[in-house]
């Protein structure tokens, strides 16, 4: 089974709360869930919808056809009615000339009990359509509200909604799997996963300027700062945010900042300082389509080449592109260890699709996660001998924080500098420092860089390459494609810079074609692959309308653009 519930209305109608309640309840009930948001850049009005897809097999992407539409206004009907399946349902507060419509009298009932809890009527109605035990929803309401009266009102309205559906209108599906599902799972979105990874890694300072779609990370860390001893500060601008994070990192704590493309653009001078000053820093760049202000609430993957080239001149940096809510946690945790080990900036290149989508995933395993700070051993440094940028074999200098070493000071500098951090324009020193800094990347490539994940036969005819969050929809699309074209492989880049090339090289000698699938206009991964390997990508399936790929859409485009016209 594979059902799609869409909640649609305008901003300010409580869609987010309804989505959080119903999504979590379906997760608790035992379904696999993939939910995502489609919203406009406005606080009230406009047209927003949340789609909650649920079923008996793991889900990675949104689906376009709708089984249950909850329409909170007329516009929602106009926009989505045609996507509701023949035997689907439309829950609406009013009458409509269509068999699929069910009037649940939400406003009228809510007026009598508590108008603010109106959406609970819809939740109750959905629940009855699915023939699920109401206790799950009741419990969640109890967890959500502290006020007993509010809980009571919501419980009542849930029941009203539940009873508004007559017994013949159940959606018929196989319920047997619900009992057997492994409950060692969590339900989380991409921004929360990044924030959780940072908290687990011991981030102690996070500063940011609010910018969609990265704000969720700021919210998450702010809400948990007390428990984790984190200083979370809303900076005056993105320049302040990253420079604060640099100061915190210099002083010795793990520090992070986050933004989306436009804000990240403002940060890049300071990103260069992290590079030349060798100050560990984690930056979450949650992409949205641009340039400039672009499509603020939409998704895209068009900042790849910008991110790897951000800031002037050249310096080592690492860019990680998490693929889903599970990967985002581990990559975020790992980013801090990499930043500390190599003393450089690490960018987590996420996007709105990943940031705002929630999914059920295996609970994060903490046993193998180890925080590695990489400070110099205090006992081994004699008075007045410490040199922040000391030349070493592997290019990694001894890092201390101010006050760590008795009678030693720590000097960091944004200029080119000598081993002490003192400004220099000496030719030999400049060259040695450049080489020293880039040696760190050789070590990263040898010791820590991860090759892309590969799914498919050993010798595929055709190979699809992708990166970051496009992986989810593609994994699903691959199943559809494989049914018709068996011999195809999928290569998913998660470490994206420096680009890992071994796996790709070993697969590239194929009979058929290499196809890159990306959410940008020019095929940035394809360009990067050619730049780093000379391997030419034969086809590009690109999307830049700001909306995520759906699996069926991907499969259709693959057949139409690659197979039928190839």
């Amino acid at each position: 089974m594979d059902l799609n519930l869409v909640l649609a209305g305008e901003a300010g109608q409580g869609l987010k709360t309804l989505e959080a309640l119903v999504g979590k309840a379906l997760f608790r009930a035992g379904f696999n869930i993939f939910s995502n948001k489609d919203y406009m850049s406005r606080v009230r009005g406009g047209h927003n919808f949340m789609s909650i897809r649920f079923g008996d097999r793991p889900l990675q992407a949104p689906r376009q056809e709708i089984d249950i539409l909850v329409a909170l206004n007329d516009e929602s009907i106009e926009k989505h009615q045609h996507k509701v399946s023949e035997d689907g349902f439309i829950l609406y507060d009013g009458k409509f000339d269509d068999d699929r419509f069910i009037d649940i009298y939400a406003s009228e009932m809510a007026k009598r009990i508590n108008p603010k809890a109106k959406n609970s009527v819809y939740a109750g109605a959905v629940w009855k359509l699915l023939d699920l035990p109401i206790a799950i929803l009741n419990d969640l309401i109890g967890e959500k509200f502290a006020d007993d009266d509010i809980v009571y009102d919501n419980h009542q309205l849930l029941e009203v909604g539940y009873n508004a559906i007559d017994d013949e209108k159940y959606i018929d599906y196989n319920k047997s799997f619900l009992d057997g599902k492994d409950n060692q799972e969590i339900y989380i979105n991409g921004n929360q996963a990044v924030g959780l990874g940072a908290a687990a890694a011991g981030v102690k300072f996070y500063s940011a300027y609010p910018m969609t779609p990265s704000t969720g990370i700021l919210n998450f860390l702010a809400q948990n700062q007390k428990d984790f001893g984190i200083a979370v500060e809303q900076a005056e601008d993105e320049i302040g945010a990253i420079n604060m994070a640099l100061g915190a990192s210099y002083s010795g704590v793990r520090a992070m900042t986050g933004s989306s493309g436009g804000g990240f653009s403002l940060m890049v001078e300071a990103l260069g300082y992290a590079g030349v000053g060798e100050i560990p820093l984690v930056v979450a760049e949650v992409q949205r389509p641009g340039p400039a202000t672009g499509l603020p609430t939409r998704t895209g993957q068009a900042d790849l080449l910008f991110a790897i080239n951000a800031s002037q001149d050249e310096f080592p940096l690492i860019v990680l592109a998490p693929t889903d809510q599970e990967d985002a946690f581990y990559q975020s945790f790992r980013a801090f260890n990499l930043a500390d080990k190599y003393q450089l900036p690490v960018i987590i290149l996420s996007d709105q699709f990943l940031a705002d989508s929630s999914k059920n995933i295996p609970e994060y395993k903490l046993d193998n996660l180890e925080i590695k700070r990489n400070f110099v051993d205090s006992d081994k440094v004699s008075p007045k001998s410490y040199r922040r940028y000391h030349f070493t074999e592997d290019g990694i200098s001894p890092r201390a924080y101010p006050g760590q070493l008795a009678d030693n000071v720590v000097l960091v500098d944004s200029h080119e500098h000598d081993e002490n951090g003192f400004v220099t324009e000496d030719i030999e020193l400049r060259n040695k420092m450049m080489i020293k800094r880039f040696k760190k990347l050789d070590k990263f490539i040898a010791e820590d860089r991860l090759e892309p994940e590969y799914i498919g036969p050993e010798e595929p005819d055709n190979l699809i390459v992708c990166w970051g969050s496009t992986a989810g929809p593609l994994k699903e699309a691959l199943e559809i494609i494989q049914k018709r074209d068996e011999n195809i492989g999928l290569l998913i880049f998660k470490d994206i810079w420096p680009l890992p090339v071994e796996k790709l090289k070993s697969l590239s000698n194929l009979a058929g074609k290499i196809i890159s699938i990306e959410s940008n206009f020019s095929g940035q991964l394809a360009k990067l692959i050619q730049q780093e390997t000379t391997i030419k990508v034969d086809y590009k399936i690109l999307k830049y309308d700001g909306r995520p790929f759906a699996a069926k859409e991907l499969a259709e485009r693959y057949f139409n653009e690659v197979i039928n016209h190839g």
């Binding site: 687990a200 428990d227 609970e363 700070r373 000071v409």
Partner: protein
């Protein structure tokens, strides 16, 4: 008095002979020695410019960052490591020009840092363009017809913002400068110290002599807790320029709004049990 040579960086400077940064540096060494602050317990955090080179020529922990960006890292360093004495040192261009937005918000936050502005009313490093404090009418290569914008008045601005410590001093009066630096460092909160410091190469108007003829120490009966008096004093500029603590008040310090932070630097990660609890919220 403690020895000042522990702060000597043992390297040549690129400051011009006669630069006001030299007496300023000497005063800083005396100020820290008087406060018995060891080099490893203080950090001088700067942006870019001649003033911002201070961490290279002075032996404490140092952070020579980006132009205009001294205050954000200084705020964060103090927040992360409360045991560190944090001094942000900027020029007038760095602190009042490129970093103006940070100045506004640093005053609002009131972190426990001292901010020394080496104010020479000109851009020194980039060779003599107008700074935010340059007089109208002064001609430069970039402003050949003379500066037309009104000068920024840092003291009035800071009083207007309700900064918790606002002082002015002059490198030609070292005892006074040392005293002001120490008062700024001791002050619990953001302490702005605007230091008149001649640029001998590019500012031919505001010279040692020009300042010496005009500066005077605030009268003994001046009440620096009276904000109206401070406003009035802040407007005094021209024939007579007051130096001293122009305004001081007790205000909550930035770090007090983070009571969950530990009293010393926290370089470790959280307990796994704590992380597990947070994860459980998502089950």
């Amino acid at each position: 008095m403690a020895k000042t040579d522990i702060y000597e960086a043992d390297r040549d400077t690129t400051w011009c002979p006669g630069c006001g940064n030299f007496p300023l540096r000497k005063a800083l060494a005396e100020a820290l020695a008087g406060l018995e602050l060891k080099p490893e317990n203080a950090a001088v955090i700067t942006g870019i410019g001649q003033a911002a080179k201070l961490p290279h020529y002075f032996r404490t922990n140092g952070y020579n960052g980006l132009h205009g960006r001294a205050l954000p890292p200084a705020v964060a360093a103090k927040l992360s490591n409360p045991e560190l004495t944090v001094i942000a040192a900027t020029g007038d261009g760095d602190g009042y020009g490129e970093g103006g937005n940070h100045l506004i918000h640093t005053i609002r936050r009131n972190p426990d840092i001292a901010h020394f502005v080496h104010n020479n009313q000109i851009y020194g490093l980039t060779k003599g363009q107008a700074s935010p404090t340059t007089y109208p009418g002064i001609e430069t290569e970039v402003q050949p017809e003379g500066v037309t914008s009104e000068p920024f008045n840092p003291i009035s601005f800071a009083v207007g913002m309700g900064a918790s410590f606002i002082a002015r001093s002059f490198v030609g009066d070292r005892d006074h400068l040392v005293k002001m630096m120490q008062a700024a460092i001791r002050h619990k909160g953001y302490a702005l110290l605007d230091i008149l410091q001649p640029c001998v190469s590019f500012n031919k108007v505001n010279t040692y002599q020009w300042y010496s003829e005009r500066v005077y120490q605030l009268e003994d009966d001046y009440d620096n807790t009276d904000i109206n008096a401070a406003f009035k004093k802040s407007r005094e500029w021209g024939d007579k320029i007051p130096i001293g603590i122009i305004y001081q008040q007790k205000k909550p310090v930035f770090r007090e709004s983070f009571p969950h932070l530990s009293d010393s630097i926290d370089v470790d990660g959280p307990d796994k049990a704590k992380v597990k609890n947070l994860i459980d919220n998502f089950s």
